[in-house]
């Protein structure tokens, strides 16, 4: 520890053998002359104006950004709504004709699959309706009291209450 201190003292003494030059009188005249000239030209803004100006600029920039973002959102929503309305009235087959830039391939496939699902559901409903119509027709032909036997012993019709139960 003391050895290091001795070494440091030695280095300090060595450094102190040299000296830094002081500013000359000529330099003083030059520098203070330039400074006085700058003094005559006036000072920069007072401190409180600087943050105030920064706040004002920030507020204007923020308002501009928000209004631009709103405008962009409005434009995209309107464009999306018109496209959606147009596409809703098309058949599934026509989805292929939807412009590529509006719907990507994945979205288009999803939409097509959705329409196909709706179509299949409608077909099933229509089949069920025809089946029910057939059952009712058969029931009418055979007489109401003797309905056809349902498969697996379960009726596909709602149970009809008997006349005595209806008036009790």
């Amino acid at each position: 520890m003391s050895h290091a201190r001795d070494e440091n003292d030695k280095v300090e003494r060595l450094l102190q053998a040299a000296r830094l030059s002081e500013p000359s009188g000529q330099l003083k005249d030059r520098v203070t002359g330039a400074a006085r000239e700058a003094w005559r030209q006036g000072a920069a803004d007072v401190p409180w104006r600087v943050p105030l100006r920064r706040v004002a600029v920030s507020a204007v920039a923020a308002a501009l950004i928000v209004s631009l973002a709103n405008l962009a959102a409005d434009v995209s929503v309107v464009r999306g709504q018109t496209e959606a309305a147009r596409v809703a009235h098309r058949e599934v087959a026509e989805l292929e004709a939807v412009p590529e830039e509006v719907y990507g391939s994945v979205t288009r496939r999803l939409l097509a699959a959705n329409f196909r699902a709706y179509e299949a559901a409608a077909e099933r409903l229509e089949q069920y309706r025809q089946q029910m119509r057939q059952v009712l027709d058969e029931a009418q032909e055979n007489g109401v009291t003797n309905p056809p036997r349902a498969p697996n012993g379960r009726s596909r019709l709602l149970p009809v209450p008997s006349a005595s139960e209806a008036y009790s």
Binding site: E7, E12, R13, L15, R19, S21, P23, R36, W39, A43
Partner: protein, 179 residues
């Protein structure tokens, strides 16, 4: 840290918007600032140019300066910024580092002493800038760690460790040099 009482006449002149503040600032800061700038730029000529820029900047920002919590730290911050800007410009202009007049001198002007001054300049130039600033202010301006910490706006421990690292390097580099 508190306001330094030596800055009170400067503050008063700045508050009156009195150009005499320039002289007061010169008397209080010019010597230390010149040393600091020489340590940063390693060239006396460049340090003189930047000192002028610093004073012009101080005058232009005199209203900020009058309201500054610590006037000395503010002045050194201006000096540091101006010197950094100047060094960047200098680096773009010149491909190599400054090769101007020497910024260290030895009292007895013999050839051996001139050689010593050159060696000291070389080893100090090898130090990182922050360590060189501390060494120059401590050795050549006889500032305490506390004063340096105040001027450079860093902690006293930081100043001490920068000095210690610098001394370790200088010890190795100056091992064979005899005064």
């Amino acid at each position: 840290m508190k306001k330094h009482p030596a800055d009170d006449p400067i503050r008063a002149a700045l508050a009156r918007d009195d150009p005499a503040a320039v002289e007061l600032i010169w008397d209080r800061y010019a010597g230390d600032l010149f040393a600091f700038l020489q340590a940063m730029l390693r060239c006396r000529q460049d340090a003189e140019d930047v000192l002028q820029m610093v004073f012009v900047k101080i005058v232009r920002k005199r209203r900020h300066l009058a309201g500054a919590r610590r006037l000395d730290a503010y002045v050194y911050q201006i000096a540091r910024n101006e010197a950094s800007r100047f060094a960047r410009r200098r680096q773009r202009k010149r491909a190599v580092e400054p090769a101007g007049d020497s910024w260290l001198s030895v009292a007895d002007g013999g050839s051996a002493h001139v050689e010593l001054a050159e060696q000291l300049e070389t080893v100090l130039a090898r130090l990182p800038q922050q360590q060189r600033e501390v060494v120059v202010l401590k050795i050549y301006r006889e500032k305490t760690f506390q004063e340096i910490a105040r001027l450079l706006d860093v902690s006293q421990n930081t100043v001490a460790s920068r000095y210690r690292y610098a001394m370790e390097k200088l010890r190795i580099w100056l091992k064979d040099v005899k005064s």
